[in-house]
């Protein structure tokens, strides 16, 4: 194998590959969409999913075909990869956009002050009217209680892992915290069901739901707090220890205040996550149409539970669906606001904790 025969394989001006212009990808995309629409009309397809799929296939195939002709097989493969990645991205955006759009469009119908301040007490599920006051109250109490229990446990566990834990125990805790993040919410619900309701015979209540939510919340709080504590530079701890400050005071007065912004963010994200949990609430809180302000006694309502009940008890009635969407809108708005505020705090605090 000589050099000469190697070089022979190259075109005369090897640097100047035939390249398609920059707008090529856009042109193919536009062509694919138009063709996809055209075919759908011609064949009388009504579903937007279908023409989008046709367009996606045409886009990928078109990019490959034309590029392989003009630029060669390597560039063509590169273009196929690029177009596949774009298609993947669009396929993820479409459901999100549809979900957001539908929730707002259909939720806004009955979403008003009345809806937020009234319960379903005297309204049949198939009739218009009523509201979600009792559900908001229930969610607030259940989530609040769960937060009250899981934050101290979660933060202390994280402190243990970062500041004290070495050895086997710490490894086991770390591993099981990770595994706990993956426990299906319905299993957490079943556990509390068997312990609290079936064995201790305590009856359905908001608090029973809170305990299940706690199981779901603890690992999230531990994880995020751990990350934040690890970001605190060791020099800070050493400086404090070197002054003769006991370790527990160092942690309370130096380590925690430094990372409090990040920890708050993590807790808020955890709250956002459990606020939408339905399965454990379904098993443990049972749901109610009336206002029950006492989370420790008798069934309560909750926002996600309300959506589920309106959906299942609708009897196909528009009024119940409208309420379900409006409640979904409320829930999503609450979660998104929590998310935004939490991220805002994270961004605002980030430079200080960073170095």
């Amino acid at each position: 194998m000589s050099n000469a025969s190697l070089t022979d394989k190259r075109p005369p001006s090897s640097l100047r590959g035939a390249t398609l212009p920059k707008w090529f990808a856009w042109a193919v995309a536009a062509g694919a969409v138009l063709l996809g629409l055209g075919i759908s009309f011609a064949a009388g397809l009504d579903s937007s999913i279908q023409w989008a799929l046709i367009a996606a296939v045409l886009f990928v195939a078109g990019s490959y075909g034309i590029s392989a002709k003009v630029e060669g097989p390597r560039q063509a493969k590169d273009r196929v990869a690029t177009s596949l990645v774009w298609v993947a991205f669009l396929m993820a955006i479409v459901p999100l956009a549809s979900l957001a759009w539908t929730t707002v469009k259909r939720g806004i119908k009955v979403f008003d002050g009345y809806f937020l301040t009234h319960s379903m007490g005297v309204v049949a599920d198939t009739e218009p009217g009523g509201g979600i006051y009792h559900a908001i109250l229930g969610t607030a109490e259940q989530v609040g209680l769960a937060t009250l229990i899981s934050v101290p446990i979660g933060v202390l566990t994280a402190i243990y892992l970062v500041e004290y834990g070495r050895g086997r125990l710490a490894q086991a805790v770390t591993f099981f915290v990770d595994v706990m993040t993956g426990i299906p919410s319905i299993v957490a619900g079943l556990f509390i069901l068997s312990l609290w309701i079936l064995i201790l015979d305590m009856g359905y209540s908001g608090f029973a739901g809170s305990m299940a939510l706690t199981i779901l919340m603890i690992p999230v709080v531990v994880r995020s707090t751990e990350e934040m504590l690890k970001l605190v530079p060791n020099e800070l701890r050493e400086a404090s220890l070197a002054l003769g400050v006991p370790k527990w005071r160092t942690i309370l007065k130096v380590v925690l205040p430094t990372s409090i912004g990040g920890i708050t963010t993590g807790i808020m994200l955890a709250v956002a996550r459990i606020a939408g949990e339905t399965a454990p609430v379904l098993l443990l809180v049972w749901g109610a149409n009336f206002i029950n302000a006492n989370p420790f006694k008798d069934p309560q309502a909750s926002l996600p539970m309300y959506i589920y009940l309106q959906f299942t008890n609708s009897g196909g009635q528009g009024a119940a669906y409208d309420r379900a969407w409006a409640a979904a809108l409320t829930l999503i708005a609450f979660i998104m606001i929590l998310n935004l505020v939490a991220r805002g705090i994270a961004r605002w605090k980030a430079p200080k904790t960073g170095r």
């Binding site: 999913i49 990645v85 915290v177 068997s194």
Partner: protein
């Protein structure tokens, strides 16, 4: 870098010789003792909690299983309150696995694609925005996905189902009787959307960790962008993608409300994925719970125990892969 094992060498500044026991012994001040006790107690509480979950579920499950007059694993019937009580998880196991497999088949390639898009294709700002949007996708509660799936997705799938029936109906898998699209296949699609964020986020993190020098090595040889990804990014990220997928699988297996709202359940195993019917562990618990007797609840707990064990295995395996990979990449970095 957001997970797993406490590296023993990580914060060496904190009295390096201090072991777990030593910390307790060495701390003579009452304040330290109390604080260590509290924090270690919380850690132990987490372990006890996990043990308690397993123990109580098993206890109630055994109560139910001892009265069960049918084979728990093979029976295709759910009649725990009957005389004699007969119930089995064959249908649920089938439905859970099938819907999760469909979800993975759809979600993994798309999620890896999006992760690559964010890290290697999109301009930086756009990449950040998309990562944020994907996070939002993760924040949407499953009940809302369920509502959307039942009222928006299901009616939209009729066209696609017709297609699948026309072109692939001969396989039997994709034969469709024309009924509402409340089938395991639809459940799979919905689950795919729901597990997309976690797979995307973990893969993205892994792709971001690919050492720049490996990519530049490929670039300097005259590799196109795709060839760079194939030569250096994907081999480096393979175990990360696997564990990300398993985390997603864990979610898909245990998802309850969205499945309960979309699926129209029957206690049968059918050849066609597109015909309404079937069930999953979690969905069955949610749907049957309200009308269940005490025996019925224990039977549901028994099925929940199976789900618990499966998700435990899947998640544990995923975490172990991540932990192993981290040691490996840490040694090289």
């Amino acid at each position: 870098m957001d997970t797993t094992t406490e590296n023993p060498a990580a914060p060496p500044a904190l009295q390096p010789a201090e072991t777990d026991k030593g910390a307790a012994r060495g701390a003579s001040r009452p304040g330290d003792r109390v604080f260590i006790g509290l924090s270690r107690g919380s850690g132990i509480f987490v372990l006890v909690l996990m043990a308690a979950i397993a123990a109580f579920l098993t206890y109630r499950a055994v109560l139910a299983l001892s009265k069960n007059e049918a084979n728990f694993f093979t029976t295709m019937e759910w009649n725990p309150s009957g005389v004699p009580p007969q119930f089995g998880i064959a249908v649920l196991a089938f439905g859970t696995i099938v819907s999760s497999v469909i979800a993975m088949a759809i979600a993994v390639p798309i999620a890896v694609g999006i992760a690559l898009f964010i890290t290697h294709y999109a301009p930086r700002k756009l990449g950040g925005t998309i990562a944020y949007v994907i996070d939002l996708l993760a924040a949407v509660p499953s009940i809302v996905y369920g509502l959307w799936g039942a009222l928006v997705l299901v009616p939209h799938l009729n066209g696609l189902y017709g297609w699948l029936d026309d072109y692939f109906g001969w396989t039997g898998l994709f034969a469709w009787d024309g009924g509402p699209a409340r089938s395991l296949f639809t459940v799979g699609i919905l689950l795919a959307i729901m597990i997309l964020p976690i797979i995307t986020n973990v893969s993205r993190e892994v792709f971001r960790q690919v050492p720049r020098m490996h990519e530049e090595a490929a670039l300097a040889l005259g590799a196109t962008r795709w060839e760079v990804i194939r030569m250096s990014v994907l081999p480096f990220g393979r175990s990360g993608i696997i564990s990300a997928s398993m985390l997603g699988l864990g979610r898909a297996l245990g998802e309850t409300m969205a499945v309960a709202m979309v699926l129209s359940p029957t206690f049968t195993i059918q050849a066609s994925l597109l015909d309404a019917g079937g069930g999953t562990f979690a969905q069955n618990i949610a749907s049957k719970f309200n009308e269940a007797t005490e025996m019925g609840r224990d039977a549901l707990i028994a099925s929940g125990l199976v789900l618990f064990v499966i998700t435990l295995l899947v998640n544990g395996a995923a975490r172990l892969i991540i932990a192993r990979r981290k040691e490996y990449s840490g040694a090289n970095a």
